[in-house]
Symmetry: C2
Subunit: 238 residues, 2 copies
């Protein structure tokens, strides 16, 4: 069997990309360097901000750079592409149409995993950037799975954006109390689980070791899907 | 000024490569995604083992794959190449001869940094793989800087290889007591500092937070050199 190469279209953001690669390596059953999944990672940090463009189409459009990167990963022999950025999935259809290799969909993988692992799941809380929320991407995947969803209040959404942009992306410590207050409010409003639908929130989960099964991490779901796609086994955390 | 792209020839090993990229991002002064250094990372895990080849030239030769990867990074528009693997620097001259862009030399960067930061440095202890030790690469760089060096005893070197291969590369926790016993023995033998001349040892330093100034980490030195080469500022740990 020919070895599968994982193409990572990263840089969105750079830290989340590296954490994603780290997760793939740590979650792959491997005892030597050579047993790991080969990867090509484009950490193209200068891709224009996705949320900025989704909210205001006169801002720089990230799509042309992302399509160029997807084509480069295909030319480099990758077997599939992953984009460790939920917001960038606003452009999923256009990107998938530009290459022949499959692009794994982080939203699909996350909602499917939540459905499989959270008992009696009926309602999911969506924690994501303003861009992802406005695009309605998670809402439509959740509805396709016949599930219900809740969003943070407008005020909590603004606070979440502050945590993502001014704290995590800026390399500062996240305000964990404020973050968990927002999570708690969604649970109180009837959510059986929340999805961390922004890879910067995955970094908070790691930094503060938030491993509850009802906090479903999109980054981890994408890592699982990548490992299985590449024909490797998942090493469950001990 | 045209933006500089950092080419990372990785996979040797995969975990060290990702930790290197993480270090570059965390040590770069940047407040937004777009201010980070763009990177192309080839995490080509299946590159044959370097130490195995250096010790026995009948084993698979990693050089052809590494030269192909270096050329690919050059073709992808990278401004320089870094290899976050000390042992692979056995092939440094052949690799540098195969591309026009510079390859930053982890050994040179490490010994220069030790010289700059450790007061009254005269003697350096070398902690590295059997392949690196046998190749004499660190010994000759240290002598070029008019410094003296010490190696672990034969028994300690075997124990260090066990830590690198059977613990860190295998995804297991390192035996920190044994590791620090080997470091301590080198200091007792007259070393003013030790270099962690193997990127798997850099992972131990991170996992156990060994931030003493007389433990000089080759990975961190390469990250510093990369950031400066790409025209960015270093963010010192707070």
């Amino acid at each position: 069997m020919q070895e599968k190469i994982l193409g990572v279209l990263g840089g969105v953001g750079p830290l989340a990309t590296v954490y994603f690669a780290d997760l793939v390596i740590k979650m792959t059953e491997a005892k030597t360097d050579q047993e790991h999944i080969p990867m090509v990672i484009l950490n193209h940090a200068s891709i224009p901000d996705r949320t900025a463009y989704i909210l205001d189409n006169s801002k720089p459009d990230p799509l042309p750079v992302m399509i160029a990167d997807a084509k480069r990963l295909q030319a480099d022999g990758c077997s599939c592409i992953v984009i460790p950025c939920n917001t960038a999935h606003y452009f999923y259809d256009a990107m998938q149409a530009s290459v022949e290799i499959p692009i794994l969909n982080i939203l699909e993988e996350t909602v499917s995993y939540a459905e499989k692992t959270v008992p009696n799941l009926r309602c999911i809380g969506i924690l994501a950037t303003e861009g992802t929320v406005v695009s309605g991407a998670y809402q439509s995947v959740i509805q396709k799975h016949n599930l219900d969803y809740r969003l943070p209040t407008k005020e909590d959404q603004a606070s979440l954006m502050h945590i993502i942009y001014d704290q995590v992306k800026a390399g500062e410590k996240a305000d964990i109390c404020e973050f968990l207050r927002i999570v708690g409010a969604l649970k109180k409003a009837g959510c059986d689980a929340v999805v961390l639908g922004c890879t910067e929130l995955s970094i908070i989960r790691k930094d503060f070791n938030l491993m509850q099964p009802d906090i479903v991490d999109s980054m981890e779901c994408l890592a699982r899907a990548s490992i299985l796609f590449c024909g490797k086994k998942i090493k469950e955390p001990s």
